[in-house]
Symmetry: C2
Subunit: 481 residues, 2 copies
């Protein structure tokens, strides 16, 4: 083939070159390499790599919810329903879901927006969550994971307005799916800094500063809020949400509320943007809003099944356009939709699966609360570490003091100080975390994100190792007297 014809880094879409996704970045590659070395018998100060980079509960040993898996098993193989030993509510759920699949097969396409039964239950779930605030089934859109839905929303606003290129406001720190998708689509990311000193709250002055700094050159179309925070773990107060809503109203921004951790709550009450906006009344109640919920998080944590839900409150014309665009890809995975149905309408107390379901769900919640408290205490007990309260989600994002000599050593290797720190941590302890720079952090501050999902013994081993490593690291790079 003529050389100039073949695809090369010089002639492909440069937006793709800009995508960075630190959660699966160079640290993970090195971790996987180390594990292969260990497998070959190479001696290291540890016997296996501990992956703490991805919020993937099942990968870290959390058992699936029995009810969900029993339902999946029966909808996959309906001939077994009659003879199955599964509880009657499992069989009933399988029959209901199959009745909504064309010709009773999960192998048929669902409608592009998702199975009607699952969308109905989504609306009902939101109504109950928000104490009766109405939710319209026509606003419910299912997707193959939250990324699929976020991309759809970003694509919707991906056009210049009055000659200005589009932009989206994104928190710092953020979950890099936002920066990654915006980079792919060539939409400008406009950062606003969360207030670490105020428990990672959103400061309206900072929102205004950021808006003013960019609105001259860009059409700011949307603001992303991650609540509960990822990687930061805060749950926003009602007052803070109201401030954000007023800001978004004032500047005509669609609110993209990433609320995927809404079922992973440790201590503070979760307020949905939808509910707060409804209670603020008009004009806020009718603003554009996209709120996300996913099967991959919460107590189900079924990452591999790829299902998520958006409540997309925009005018009907716009949702119709999006619906037609999404029909090209046919539909989200039907088995994922079936599992999502189990989350949206879990077993009720009167049903035979309830006892086991309730026990499993409580256990997952208890574990999260215990891990969050232990991580918070342990990190604040390490000299040079500080860590805000972990209100929700499934991560800790401690701040770490990195000595000037270590920063210089990092620079000499072409690493950021936090990358250097995390690499050294990996080499010394086998623990693979994600450097704060992968999420963004205030200049001069350094962090890392670790999941807090490991089983008890591994988790406490990790906490001890963080401490042991940090003391070693401090000593190695202590300022010369």
């Amino acid at each position: 083939m003529k050389l100039e014809g073949r695809l090369s880094k010089d002639n492909i879409n440069p937006h793709l070159l800009d995508i960075e996704y630190a959660v699966r970045g160079p640290l993970l590659q090195r971790a996987e390499q180390i594990q292969r070395e260990l497998d070959k018998g190479v001696k290291k100060p540890f016997t296996k790599v501990i992956y703490a980079n991805v919020g993937d509960c099942h990968a870290l040993g959390q058992k699936p919810i029995t009810f969900i898996r029993q339902v999946l098993s029966l909808v996959s193989d309906p001939e077994c329903i009659a003879s199955s030993a599964a509880p009657e509510d499992v069989k009933q759920r399988a029959r209901e879901l199959l009745a909504d699949c064309t010709s009773g097969s999960v192998g048929s396409y669902s409608p592009p927006a998702g199975l009607r039964i699952v969308r109905r239950r989504g609306a009902e779930y939101l109504r109950k969550r928000d104490g009766g605030v109405p939710a319209d089934v026509d606003d419910i859109l299912l997707g193959a994971g939250a990324t699929d839905l976020i991309r759809a929303v970003f694509q919707l606003i991906n056009c210049p307005v009055d000659g200005k290129p589009p932009a989206v406001m994104v928190p710092v720190p953020q979950y890099p799916v936002f920066s990654g998708l915006l980079a792919e689509l060539g939409v400008r990311r406009v950062d606003y800094q969360l207030s670490e000193d105020a428990g990672w709250a959103l400061d309206p002055r900072e929102l205004r500063r950021s808006w003013l700094a960019h609105a001259g050159d860009h059409a700011l179309r949307a603001i992303v809020i991650i609540n509960p925070g990822n990687p930061t773990g805060q749950v926003l107060s009602r007052e803070n949400i109201e401030e954000v809503v007023r800001f978004a109203y004032e500047h005509g921004l669609l609110i993209l509320a990433d609320e995927v951790y809404q079922e992973n709550i440790v201590c503070k009450p979760f307020h949905s943007f939808k509910k707060v906006m409804h209670e603020m009344g008009e004009p806020y109640a009718s603003m554009d809003l996209c709120s996300l919920l996913t099967l991959s998080k919460g107590w189900s944590a079924e990452c591999g099944l790829r299902a998520a839900l958006a409540e997309l409150r925009v005018c009907r014309d716009v949702s119709a356009v999006l619906g037609r665009a999404r029909a090209v890809a046919q539909c989200p995975p039907v088995l994922g939709q079936c599992a999502l149905d189990c989350v949206l309408r879990p077993p009720a107390p009167s049903e035979p699966s309830y006892a086991q379901f309730s026990q499993e769900r409580s256990q997952i919640h208890r574990t999260l609360c215990a891990r969050a408290a232990a991580a918070h205490a342990a990190f604040n007990d390490i000299p040079g570490y500080s860590c805000n309260t972990i209100d929700g989600a499934m991560f800790a994002f401690p701040r770490v003091e990195i000595p000037a000599r270590a920063q210089a050593a990092a620079a000499s290797l072409g690493h950021t100080p936090d990358e250097f720190y995390c690499l050294r941590l990996l080499e010394a302890t086998g623990i693979c975390v994600v450097p704060g720079s992968g999420f963004g952090q205030a200049a001069g501050s350094f962090h890392f994100r670790t999941t807090i999902l490991h089983e008890r013994d591994t988790f406490h081993h990790m906490l001890r190792e963080f401490r042991r490593f940090h003391l070693m690291f401090r000593e190695e790079f202590a300022d010369e007297e």
Copy 2:
């Protein structure tokens, strides 16, 4: 919210307004409305709508392959493996797949490119398919359906080259996923016409004509070939493939070979682009190529599970960039990947599931062949209809003469003649097909696409109804003497 802030048709991405997907277009909406009327007891000349718009075998009554569903059932609920009455090879397959899932759960994320075991089996499948031509597991990329993978490839070439906007050559008629995705991404579609008179072959003169007409203003980056054809049903000859390969080489085009119907072959032998390019030797053997295979088609026809495979032969730098970009969306649905594994490595003759599997697969193939022959014969027997041989895929795309008076009536209603014809067909018979204009067709010619997947009685009823309707229609719109 300030009015200018809310999303409206006037301020969203205009590319999305350009997307048309006739397979789920206005005809389907009317069909669904008619079905609702029937459900309410409204009298019509028929008792139910017959959906022939989507190639969705399960929706039309095809039974799932037992082996696939048994495996899905066990990987979903691994606690049942020991006690299950399923054959030993089903259990073995479930254990193998779970061994490749992190911590043995299909609820864990897989690597972004897919489970290693499935990709390995993909490479092995391709090697066997092509009589030993090597296939590299690193070239195998799994996706959430073929659309996901096609979008990824289009996004890769979505950038100007030497100041010229990117473009992709697409056949006419085409499957509208191509036009839809190109419209979404704002990449120019450059049409080339298939030769209906030559059994829907690709005419190299037409390829050159199309290239010459557009290469001045556009950077032509890729050529889409659909083989077996959709909606057209042809299987390309080896010679024709060689001609296309030489053309693509000469103009430095990536070949995007949509070969998703490669297991739906009626009569002519299927030649993969990969094999032909390999056998042509250098420089053709090393050209850029993306070839597609999907779980949604073939004998599995598991549309709802959303899994597909691309063999993407581009330089490693480029596939690495794509890999990083795709990691943002984490991974394709793991249960879909498990089902795809069963297609890539079906039960072997020595295994206990083979007899039933083989019987089920043969039955599906026999049905396809019988339907293709019956449709071809019936359509060519209707005065004013003509239909090429259906070599593969799962559609008929007959050409229909539409009287001048009917064309005028269509124009007066703002419809194309074929839309008008299909709407009248729907109202008269309840059969929902897709007008040829949804795929593209030579000026002055009119077609529609119907699936040929219905069970025997419905199918023969459809064929009789097409005839009855057309004679009626001809009479209604006959030229006045």
